[in-house]
């Protein structure tokens, strides 16, 4: 049995994959990694398929060891990484040996990291996914956040564990300018809003409230000048939807959003920018929204996926292997 043992669970670490697709009509949140790009990149760097489960680490960090020599990768923003106290880079394919202690430490500049392991975290699949649904207390590891002492099974990899070479600029999607521009497509209920209020939404610089979580990111700033209290009957909801509740400060629905909601959706964050938004820090990162059209959004998502295709299997050059394996 191959496993990964949690030495320190942090506060928000959980098993996540690309989410529970297709169960929204039963009221099941999609869930999945907050940072889809980090998950896909991490999986590819260790030779997994994109949809394989990994460990999502939040503020609070994470520490673990593995039962066998293997390949791991840690992708995300705002974290540092060490193997047996030797600093190593994120966004890299790394060899770790049995029982080496890997520490993922949260610092500044981001919120979530993905720990991917060759073979993936092989907890029981529930409704087609291994993601943890905290609201329903199912999926992932016993339906809960990870704690010290948990031993999660690691699956057997279809692809042999070679090191993989990321392009230099793999994490360029996060390159930050301030305020961070998050691109959106106009929402289905934008027309319920006076034009002036919508303009205010696009011109304003927001920050995230500290009560933000995997379900939703609350924006802080000037409430939008509208007294439209659109009385809407519930409709379907997706991650990225920006709802305007009666407090007139928008909420961006994130990975764990319930699949229905009832406040007007004024805009929807494009899929390729959800990882960047997910990484914004409450009270710190200034955020601005920029409207684009759905076709542009599709092209940007396509570009993001093609970026991942630049991750190459390394022709196990001894030099690189030795470098990566030098951590003793």
């Amino acid at each position: 049995m191959r496993w990964i043992e949690v030495i320190h669970g942090g506060y928000f670490s959980s098993v996540q994959d690309l989410g529970r697709i297709g169960w929204g009509r039963f009221g099941v949140p999609r869930g999945g990694a907050m940072d889809e790009f980090a998950l896909r990149a991490g999986n590819r760097l260790v030779g997994n398929e994109d949809e394989v489960a990994a460990i999502e680490v939040g503020p609070g960090g994470f520490e673990f060891r593995v039962s066998h020599d293997t390949i791991i990768a840690v992708c995300g923003r705002g974290f540092t990484l060490s193997v047996d106290d030797q600093p190593v880079p994120l966004w890299q394919s790394l060899r770790v040996n049995k029982n080496q202690q890997v520490r993922v430490v949260h610092g500044e500049g981001g919120m979530w990291a993905i720990v991917a392991v060759n073979g993936g975290i092989s907890v029981k699949e529930i409704m087609g996914s291994r993601s943890t649904t905290l609201v329903g207390k199912f999926g992932g590891w016993q339906g809960r956040l990870l704690q010290a002492g948990d031993r999660l099974p690691i699956g057997f990899a279809r692809i042999p564990p070679d090191l993989r070479m990321p392009p230099q600029s793999l994490d360029e999607i996060y390159k930050s300018v301030s305020p961070v521009p998050i691109r959106v497509v106009k929402g289905p209920h934008a027309d319920c809003l006076p034009e002036e209020a919508y303009r205010q939404f696009l011109q304003q610089t927001f920050t995230l409230s500290s009560v933000s979580n995997r379900t939703g990111y609350r924006l802080e700033g000037e409430p939008l000048s509208t007294n439209t209290s659109a009385d809407m009957v519930s409709f379907g909801m997706l991650p990225g939807a920006i709802q305007l509740p009666p407090g007139r400060l928008p909420i961006v629905m994130m990975a764990d959003t319930p699949p229905t909601g009832g406040y007007p959706v004024i805009a929807v964050v494009i899929r390729a920018d959800l990882p960047r938004l997910a990484q914004c820090e409450p009270d710190i990162t200034p955020i601005r929204f920029e409207e684009i059209n759905p076709e542009q959004a599709r092209l940007i998502f396509d570009r993001m996926m093609k970026k991942l295709d630049q991750i190459l299997v390394l022709n196990a050059s001894d030099e690189f292997w030795n470098w990566a394996g030098a951590i003793k």
């Binding site: 697709i21 039963f26 929402g187 409709f235 319930p258 699949p259």
Partner: protein, 224 residues
């Protein structure tokens, strides 16, 4: 008759499309939602990842690299032109046993008082109708059931209960519903069903589906 004027199609990001039939809770509007959902399911269109029916709208989520708004809009308009002939089954009928009142339905007396009816009349009216699962939400597997007789409508609790047991049957406004798992909740509880509505590891995990028909029937608590 369906016609183009019956609904509007809105972008929901690059990966979604919201088909809006109206802005109210209404059996006829909801029927159209399920008609379209079922028609789309039968077409099994590549790239569709989710189709979430709600009271009066259907949210279609898709992989933007495999499907797109134009293709879906065209299909939906095609559906509208074909009309309802494509509707093949009227939804399964699921019968749900309920122990009404007592500890199982702590608000049954309130509902009776509020509606000026006897407890037995409330039970009779509640178990007489055939309901439709308008949509699911709130928590996994929670069915919002439409078609309740307005004579037994009752307002939500002012302060929701922190813990409502799984299986509780409640009333809120003109709707009735069943709590599939223990959760906080503000519906007026009139009874409880021993049926399991949601089992994450079950095959299938859910007793009910959106579009299903539901009928309640009263049972007595077994004497121990």
């Amino acid at each position: 008759m369906n016609s183009k004027a019956d609904f509007r199609i809105e972008f929901f990001g690059e990966s979604g499309l919201l088909v809006i039939f109206g802005e109210r809770i209404d059996c006829e509007l909801n029927r159209k939602v399920h008609l379209l959902a079922e028609w789309l399911a039968q077409k099994s269109i590549a790239g569709i990842t989710d189709a979430i029916p709600a009271y009066a709208s259907l949210l279609i989520a898709f992989d933007p690299l495999k499907c797109n708004h134009d293709l879906l809009s065209t299909l939906i308009e095609q559906w509208a032109e074909q009309g309802e002939k494509s509707f093949t089954h009227p939804g399964r009928l699921v019968e749900v046993p309920v122990i009404y009142g007592g500890d199982y339905g702590p608000d049954l007396n309130f509902v009776a008082g509020h509606c000026g009816l006897s407890v037995d009349e409330v039970i009779r009216i509640h178990s007489q109708a055939e309901y439709r699962v308008f949509m699911m939400g709130f928590s996994p597997g929670f069915p919002y059931l439409g078609g309740m007789n307005p004579a037994i409508a009752a307002p939500r609790l002012q302060t929701p209960r922190p813990k409502v047991p799984a299986g509780s049957v409640g009333i809120a406004g003109q709707q009735t519903g069943i709590y599939p798992s223990e959760s906080p909740g503000g519906w007026r509880l009139i009874g409880w069903t021993p049926l399991k509505l949601f089992d994450p590891e079950g095959e299938p995990p859910f007793l009910l589906e959106p579009g299903d028909r539901v009928r309640f029937y009263p049972i007595q608590q077994e004497k121990s």
